[in-house]
């Protein structure tokens, strides 16, 4: 499983630019679903496990998670040039789309059909996000503690609606210490 520097595939800056353009243009309703779908299932650049490792780091770092993930995947496959190409692919189209949406919103924002279509898409998008959770959960070890940490994070943020930084600060050291002891 461990890849050395030589075995690791290098993808061209152009391939990174195009792949991340494709991810970002499909990325309705959150990009985690599409990033995983394209990188793990379609292109097979990353395994499920490698994707989860990068996603964890991307969520730990400040800034938009999907952008952090893009930088790290770009860097893995093409160093500095790869990271720049991936980010350019990731942001160019959405900027143009957002400007187009801004124009549409100023003209048609009040139309009921427009608002109903938005609602229907959001409902499907919630289902897509839920399916990512189910697929990624399959790589978690079948032990009590990791699942307990996951459940506590869900209850703290999703049910009790406590501030995210507090929940993470309370759970993270405990979870990392547990993983550390298992390796040692």
């Amino acid at each position: 499983m461990e890849q050395t520097e030589l075995e690791r595939p290098r993808n061209s800056a152009l391939a990174l630019f195009l792949t991340f353009s494709r991810i970002t243009l499909s990325g309705f309703g959150g990009l985690t679903f599409w990033t995983r779908y394209v990188l793990v299932e379609r292109e097979r650049w990353l395994t499920q496990r490698e994707f989860l490792d990068l996603l964890v780091l991307a969520q730990l770092l400040p800034g938009p998670n999907a952008l952090n993930l893009t930088v790290m995947v770009g860097y893995r496959f093409g160093r500095w040039k790869g990271a720049a190409a991936a980010v350019a692919g990731f942001l160019t189209c959405p900027c143009l789309v957002v400007i187009g949406l801004g124009v549409l919103y100023q003209h048609y924002g009040a139309l009921p059909q427009f608002q109903r279509a938005l609602t229907g898409m959001s409902i499907a998008a919630a289902g897509l996000l839920l399916s990512v959770v189910i697929k990624l959960a399959t790589v978690l070890p079948r032990r009590l503690l990791p699942w307990l940490f996951g459940a506590l994070a869900f209850v703290g943020v999703g049910v009790l609606r406590w501030p995210l930084p507090w929940v993470v600060a309370a759970l993270a050291p405990w979870a990392v210490a547990t993983a550390w002891k298992e390796k040692a």
């Binding site: 970002t24 499909s26 990325g27 309703g29 959150g30 989860l52 964890v56 780091l57 969520q59 770092l61 400040p62 800034g63 938009p64 952008l67 952090n68 893009t70 930088v71 790290m72 980010v87 990731f90 942001l91 189209c93 959405p94 957002v98 400007i99 801004g102 919103y105 924002g109 279509a117 609602t119 229907g120 898409m121 959001s122 409902i123 499907a124 998008a125 919630a126 289902g127 897509l128 996000l129 839920l130 399916s131 990512v132 959770v133 189910i134 978690l140 990791p146 940490f149 994070a153 869900f154 943020v157 999703g158 995210l164 930084p165 993270a172 979870a175 990392v176 210490a177 298992e182 390796k183």
Partner: protein
């Protein structure tokens, strides 16, 4: 509407993104406070509509800030709101990415990644349920969300079709 101080907004967002651990949703309350309550650049209704539009549009969810920037100040608004989100990514993330590639088997890095993976999954589950509660008003919405999950898990279809189906169901008043 107040006159827009784009420089001040730029700096405000720059600081926000550096403390935004956990992604775009964590800074939403503060963005709302700045553009709606302090500077009256958009109304709270416009804020919610622009946010929803950016959520279902292609691209990162963080682009809702860009959309507000365009709505308020055109192209210079886009620049003032989009450049700040690049700064943490192009400094801290590159550094961590570099260390992670250089020392993929460092025990501490490994423990951090393995230890936090379940927390990440739990938080994503929380986001999914919050999103579901925000958009589903009755059993029809929830059944459509569950139907989407089932189809994704069982069929290798391109998920864009599911979003298109959602849009159609919305237009014809099924959900």
């Amino acid at each position: 509407m107040d006159r827009v101080d784009l420089g001040g907004w730029f700096l405000h967002l720059l600081v926000l993104w550096f403390v935004a651990i956990g992604g775009p949703a964590t800074i939403l309350p503060d963005v709302h406070r700045y553009v709606v309550e302090m500077h009256h650049l958009v109304t709270t209704k416009e804020f919610a509509e622009l946010y929803t539009l950016a959520q279902v549009a292609p691209g990162p969810n963080a682009m809702y800030v860009t959309l507000i920037g365009w709505h308020v100040a055109g192209l210079s608004g886009v620049a003032a709101t989009t450049l700040p989100l690049l700064v943490p990514a192009s400094t801290l993330t590159l550094l961590v990415g570099h260390l992670n590639e250089r020392y993929p088997n460092a025990p501490l890095g490994r423990a951090i990644r393995r230890g936090l993976a379940p927390i990440t999954i739990g938080l994503m589950f929380a986001s999914a349920t919050i999103l579901m509660r925000a958009v589903n008003h009755d059993w029809r919405g929830y059944s459509m969300t569950l139907l989407t999950v089932t189809v994704v898990l069982l069929k290798p279809w391109n998920p864009l079709w599911l979003l298109a189906a959602g849009a159609l169901a919305g237009i014809f008043g099924l959900v």
